[in-house]
């Protein structure tokens, strides 16, 4: 039998292999029928993930500020920070985001993200939905946004993995739920995330094993090559298992030996720059994203890291904790945009800052569809720990987008100024967000693969449309 795949596709008939089952790795059946649209405005995507639910009224969409005082009415509190002006006329951010405010002339502020209704709220479930565009559970393993991009476009630089995920550990609470969407799903492991849980030790992932000198690494590889060439398994004829193993090992060797791997090494960064980014793990993740972009990364996700009741997941002390979170993100995010612009890469790099949903002090879910509350909120606030946005709010939320064809100095959508501070103009849902990203990258709207003879689209049923108002 000496068929190639094209012949195979031609010759195969009947409903025989068509009704393929998800139980079996389907990589081998995926047909490469999707091609890139030539109108792409971006080559690289950086997702800055605000894990845990970032309250819009205390970040990028501030409302009336009510300072803390004992005995205050909870219902009267819309924002727990002062508003500060941004570079855009009439657009204010919440105090603590001044640096990002100064670069808003370089991107679009979205104030109308609407998350899905999925009943009793579980962060990881909404994160699954945000990253895959599908609500769990699914009978077919849904691929992560980054995996779709890796599959459709491949790496920009062949030695830099196409999908790099920075900053998330999976050993924390809900780790299994997080794993469920940090996957290429049916697209196959090849397109899965290259995980760097801690950017400060990121280099360890792409250099010879710790403690192994370069010369030893070189020698080891030579030994392997020599032994393969002598192994009699070749006498049994060629097969794809052997070939793919040899090829993958070769690729790994090239990556670990490549000068580009230095991008993972943050110690190579000038101190001045390093210090600006070094607000903690997230900031360093942004720095790594910058360095990787310079070497030709395709999709990078940097997260503030999701851990139940930590980070943006403010079930208490919302005000106090947000002050810290803003310190973590404000400098690095602004610097990342400035650096990308300065190096001329911002034009072809789409940077997105987003969170799975927003928060409110009173409303759990959305105003017209409240779900089971998870945080006890006293009507009269006596303790500062109750002062903050502690409930999960799905009917409004903020996102930022920069570069890669996105309009500059643009504000998209609007939320109400009084509680419930829900989206009142240009609501944008997750499938529009995904399609907007694909649009920028030139990935066709109807990109899909047949799984079990059903087309599985990048966005459910292929119905999503990109939001034209975001693009130049």
């Amino acid at each position: 039998m000496n068929w190639n795949r094209r012949d195979f596709l031609k010759n195969t008939s009947g409903a025989a292999i068509a009704a393929m089952a998800a139980g079996i790795p389907v990589t081998k059946w995926l047909t490469d029928s999707n091609v890139r649209n030539s109108k792409a405005t971006a080559d690289t995507v950086i997702l800055l993930w605000m894990a845990g639910g970032m309250a819009h009224t205390d970040t990028f969409d501030p409302k009336k500020y009510t300072p803390f005082s004992k005995g205050m009415q909870a219902n009267s509190v819309l924002s727990t920070f002062k508003s500060v002006p941004t570079i855009l006329d009439g657009i204010n951010f919440s105090e603590g985001l001044e640096s990002i405010g100064k670069i808003m002339d370089k991107g679009t502020l979205i104030r109308s993200y609407v998350a899905a209704d999925m009943g009793h709220i579980l962060h990881s479930r909404h994160q699954y939905h945000w990253h895959t565009c599908y609500q769990p559970p699914q009978s077919v393993a849904a691929p992560h946004l980054g995996s779709w991009i890796a599959k459709e476009l491949g790496p920009l630089n062949p030695v830099i993995p196409a999908f790099i995920d920075i900053g998330q550990r999976f050993t924390l609470g809900e780790g299994e739920e997080l794993k469920a969407f940090h996957t290429a799903g049916f697209l196959g492991n090849e397109y899965g995330p290259f995980l760097i849980p801690d950017p400060s030790s990121g280099l360890d992932s792409v250099r010879p094993p710790v403690g192994m000198s370069a010369s030893r690494f070189e020698k080891r590889n030579q030994l392997y090559q020599d032994l393969i060439s002598q192994s009699p398994v070749g006498e049994y004829g060629s097969d794809y298992q052997k070939e793919s193993l040899k090829r993958s090992m070769e690729q790994a060797y090239i990556l670990l030996n490549s000068p580009e791997a230095k991008a993972f090494d943050l110690s190579q960064e000038p101190k001045e720059s390093y210090d600006i980014y070094n607000t903690g793990k997230f900031g360093l993740g942004c720095l790594m994203a910058k360095r990787l972009t310079e070497q030709g990364a395709r999709f990078i996700s940097v997260t503030t890291e999701y851990e139940p009741f930590k980070g943006w997941d403010t079930h208490d002390n919302g005000h106090t904790r947000l002050a810290d979170m803003k310190k973590q993100i404000d400098g690095p995010v602004a610097q990342l945009i400035k650096d990308l612009e300065q190096s001329g890469r911002l034009d072809r790099t789409l940077v997105i800052l987003a969170s799975e949903f927003s928060r409110d002090m009173m409303v759990e879910g959305r105003p017209d569809l409240k779900v089971q509350e998870q945080v006890a909120q006293p009507d009269i606030i006596q303790d500062i720990k109750n002062y903050g946005m502690h409930r999960h709010f799905t009917d409004g939320g903020s996102m930022l987008m920069f570069g890669g064809g996105i309009k500059k100095g643009n504000v998209y959508g609007k939320t109400a100024d009084e509680r419930p501070c829900k989206t009142i103009e240009k609501p944008i849902m997750i499938d529009q967000v995904h399609q907007s990203i694909y649009h920028a990258l030139g990935i066709a709207e109807d990109t899909n693969y047949l799984i079990e003879k059903r087309p599985f689209y990048t966005t459910p049923d292929g119905l999503g449309k990109h939001a034209t108002g975001l693009f130049v």
Partner: protein
């Protein structure tokens, strides 16, 4: 675009627009051409004719424009092309009026300036007529010059929608289509209709009175009559509409989601072929459906008295069938593999481990003529090792894992203890299935499924998960489509899926179509009535019990064929039927499958006997076959020639490394310990390392292909990839294990040659060849350091010869 009831005459006249436009187009163009040909002589003999043409043309242009305006007013049109057509049309009409005016002026007063103006205007009008006509034609007939759209994928060529459907061949076939071709073509068409049209032309929404979800409804058409003229796509409204430009008001599917080129081609072909649609229901079967009942074909005699050495000893029933198959396919029996290779295979297939050099030696020194069978039996008797190997296969299929989604909120249950003991005690398969479907507290994890917090899609509620998973795992049947809408890849209907799911439901589930409630309900019932009934009013426990009893009946040939095929695929690298989850597909040898399934039941559904039968056949012992493309293996035209080469599973690889070099996992990694005194009453000693099947999934195992068990998984990927190679090249855990092993080995062996010989024997089951020895010697040096040994280990276990089961 008035929504009021228009005076019928205006509407009628509007509809005459497409007719009327042909007058100005013809007349004015003709006038312009004649004018051009007589440009030197204004008063040529054509003058009166041209004048008449211009007069008639201008008047008809005005009338056409008026009718066009009426059509637009009452016709519910919008879109870019409409706008272009409309305004070029009006402009042309006005131009023609000016042309006419100058012509009349010339007749009164023949000034050269008037002639120039008249002629320029006439030529402009001619161009206007052509342009407006083009846009008009685009509206009616679709884009005449197809341009590339996001959907035309490979440079305008026709792409393959489903990997199997050969459109070109069908297009080339001018004769009458075979039943199978009709079925295939119709299936494709129905898939296209289902995914693009049902939303508005289905039972939920019947726009324009048109439904496209059934034969008679499609052929009947909608409010405005038939949409299909069999044999004539150009006259079929449906075909015309899907060909309109994406921004055309009438384009279908609406909302500008244009069909892909190849989909349009398929529909065109289908209409050309007379829009065949096999009858629904039981009269004719649209999709190939495998026989449900068991079948016991008469076993052929063993090929006797053959001098051909390769055929001697073909008494195993598997071989008797295979011999027939080989004769039919003109395949010769190759010689069976040698002892070393055979031993390696049965070790990996039965207990998931490599044989030690001592075992290899013992085996090759075993002089008993039936030693291969005896050793298989011996391995099958290693209850714990057997259970530890097959545990992973069943964990994948049953979505059983120590960690994963659902556990966090108590929405998932682990069944490892039950599963391990069932395998260890070789529980008959029918009992095994029964206990999974009608479970005890220990085995309920499979049927209870994974429950996420919050509200989930109705096709993924736990009752529906149970219906889908029971069908997939035990019956090789896909109910996933049918749990959302009537399937178009099989005859299973939404109602069937809900009837089946209701077996697992406390209260009858409301049927949801595409996640929307329909207000309909259906009683719990079996997928096949032949297999028995379900008492709809009974409790879930009783209904599950009835289901289990019904399913494991010997009459249910499908249950037993499915498992026989799965075990065969595990040992042979490819099932008799592929994919193993689609048991309606054709096997490469029906008799062999049927006979084995029948025999399996006759032998009290003993899985070990099934493995024994396969492992002792000559068919199993043939040299392995390697393929350049995985797709060739899954091709339905696949011809059996011997075991298909595959890679070790994550667990087999890890266990081999643990065994040969140093344990990859420690006792502290154990998630389930079968060797605790209370649980363990066997005689063999506790193994010296922790088997990979007993630990939680981790980055190492998952890089090597252990699935995350969120969905049913019935096969592993044999292909390597970069992320995996990175894990193996610089992964912390892996390199630490190799280092640890190296340090122990240099204490054991002070002679490098002895060390090399040992590592070759333990990893590859053979001695190094001269060249290999030389290379290894060179890398180790005279006094090997731990580093050098570690690197040799690394190279050895990454050799394809080590990793591939061949």
């Amino acid at each position: 675009m008035l929504q009021v009831n228009a005076f019928w005459l205006w509407e009628f006249l509007g509809h005459l627009h497409p007719l009327a436009v042909h007058f100005p187009v013809g007349l004015l163009l003709f006038a312009a051409i004649l004018e051009l040909s007589t440009v030197k002589n204004f008063h040529s003999r054509f003058r009166p004719g041209i004048n008449a043409l211009v007069i008639a043309g201008s008047i008809s242009a005005l009338i056409s424009a008026l009718f066009g305006w009426l059509l637009f007013l009452y016709g519910d049109y919008s879109g870019n092309t409409i706008d272009l057509h409309q305004w070029t049309g009006y402009a042309t009409a006005i131009l023609s009026l000016f042309t006419l005016s100058f012509l009349l002026l010339i007749r009164k007063n023949h000034k050269p300036g008037y002639v120039i103006a008249y002629r320029s205007l006439l030529f402009l009008t001619g161009i206007g007529v052509a342009v407006a006509g083009h846009f008009g034609a685009t509206l009616t007939h679709g884009d005449l010059f197809p341009k590339s759209s996001s959907s035309s994928k490979d440079g305008g060529g026709i792409e393959k929608p489903s990997a199997n459907f050969n459109l070109e061949a069908l297009q080339a076939d001018t004769g009458k289509l075979s039943v199978k071709q009709v079925t295939d073509l119709n299936t494709e068409v129905r898939a296209i209709l289902a995914h693009n049209c049902y939303k508005c032309h289905g039972p939920e929404k019947i726009k324009g009175g048109l439904r496209l979800d059934g034969k008679h409804m499609v052929l009947k058409g909608g409010e405005n009559g038939p949409v299909i003229v069999p044999g004539n796509p150009e006259k079929s409204e449906l075909f015309i509409r899907i060909n309109l430009p994406a921004d055309h008001e009438d384009v279908m599917p609406s909302k500008g989601k244009k069909l892909k080129n190849n989909e349009i081609e398929i529909i065109k072909l289908w209409i050309e072929k007379g829009a065949p649609w096999p009858e629904d229901g039981s009269k004719e079967i649209i999709y190939k459906v495998a026989e449900l009942m068991p079948r016991n074909p008469i076993l052929p005699d063993a090929p006797a008295g053959l001098s051909d050495g390769a055929k001697s000893g073909l008494s195993n029933p598997v071989d008797r069938w295979t011999d027939q198959y080989f004769i039919k396919n003109k395949t010769k029996w190759p010689a069976v593999v040698n002892d070393e290779l055979y031993l390696r295979r049965i070790y990996l297939d039965v207990i998931g481990m490599l044989p030690s050099p001592e075992e290899i030696e013992k085996f090759s020194n075993d002089a008993r003529p039936n030693k291969r069978a005896l050793w298989v039996r011996q391995l099958l008797n290693l209850e714990d090792d057997y259970a530890l190997h097959w545990l992973s296969f069943w964990n994948d299929a049953l979505r059983n894992d120590y960690t994963g989604t659902g556990y966090i909120t108590g929405g998932r249950f682990n069944i490892t203890d039950w599963l391990y003991k069932s395998l260890k005690n070789n529980k008959p398969y029918n009992q095994f299935v029964k206990e999974l479907i009608s479970p005890t507290a220990e085995s309920k994890g499979f049927i209870e499924g994974i429950k996420w917090r919050g509200v989930v899609n109705s096709s993924q509620r736990t009752e529906m998960q149970a219906a889908q998973n029971v069908s997939q795992v035990f019956l090789g049947l896909n109910l996933k489509c049918a749990s959302c809408h009537n399937s178009f890849i099989s005859d299973w209907k939404l109602e069937d899926a809900y009837a089946f799911a209701n077996i697992f439901a406390d209260t009858t589930l409301e049927i949801n179509r595409c996640d929307k409630p329909t207000g309909k309900f259906v009683d719990a019932r079996m997928l096949w009535k032949k297999l028995g009934t379900i008492d709809n009013k009974a409790t879930v426990a009783v209904k599950r019990k009835q289901l289990a009893e019904n399913l494991i009946k010997p009459e249910n040939g499908r249950l037993y064929r499915t498992i026989v095929n799965r075990i065969w695929a595990q040992m042979m690298g490819r099932g008799l039927i592929e994919p193993v989850d689609v048991m309606d597909n054709e096997p490469w040898n029906q008799d062999l499958l049927d006979w084995m399934a029948y025999d399996f039941v006759a032998k009290k559904t003993d899985l070990k006997e099934l493995i024994y039968l396969i492992a002792t056949s000559n068919a199993y012992q043939l040299p392995s076959v390697g393929y350049k493309e995985p797709a060739i293996i899954s091709n339905p035209k696949y011809k059996f020639k011997g075991m298909v080469r595959r890679r070790m599973s994550a667990e087999q690889f890890t266990d081999a490394v643990s065994n040969i070099i140093s344990p990859v996992f420690a006792d502290s990694n154990l998630k389930y310990n079968p060797f605790l005194k209370a649980a363990y009453n066997g005689t063999p000693a506790k193994p010296s390392f922790v088997r990979a099947a007993l630990v939680a999934n981790n980055s190492f195992l998952s890089a090597l292909g252990r699935p995350n068990r969120e969905t049913v998984s019935t096969g592993r990927d044999s292909q390597a990839n970069l992320l995996q190679a990175l894990e193996l090249t610089n992964g912390g855990r892996f390199n630490a294990v190799l280092k640890e092993g190296a340090e122990q080995w240099i204490k054991k062996f002070n002679d490098p040659d002895l060390l090399i010989k040992n590592i070759y024997e333990r990893t590859l089951g053979r001695e190094p060849r001269q060249n290999e020895l030389a290379i290894a010697r060179k890398s180790l040096g005279k006094a090997p350091t731990a580093d050098a040994v570690q690197d040799l280990f690394w190279a050895m276990v990454l050799l394809p010869e080590f990793q591939i089961i061949y």
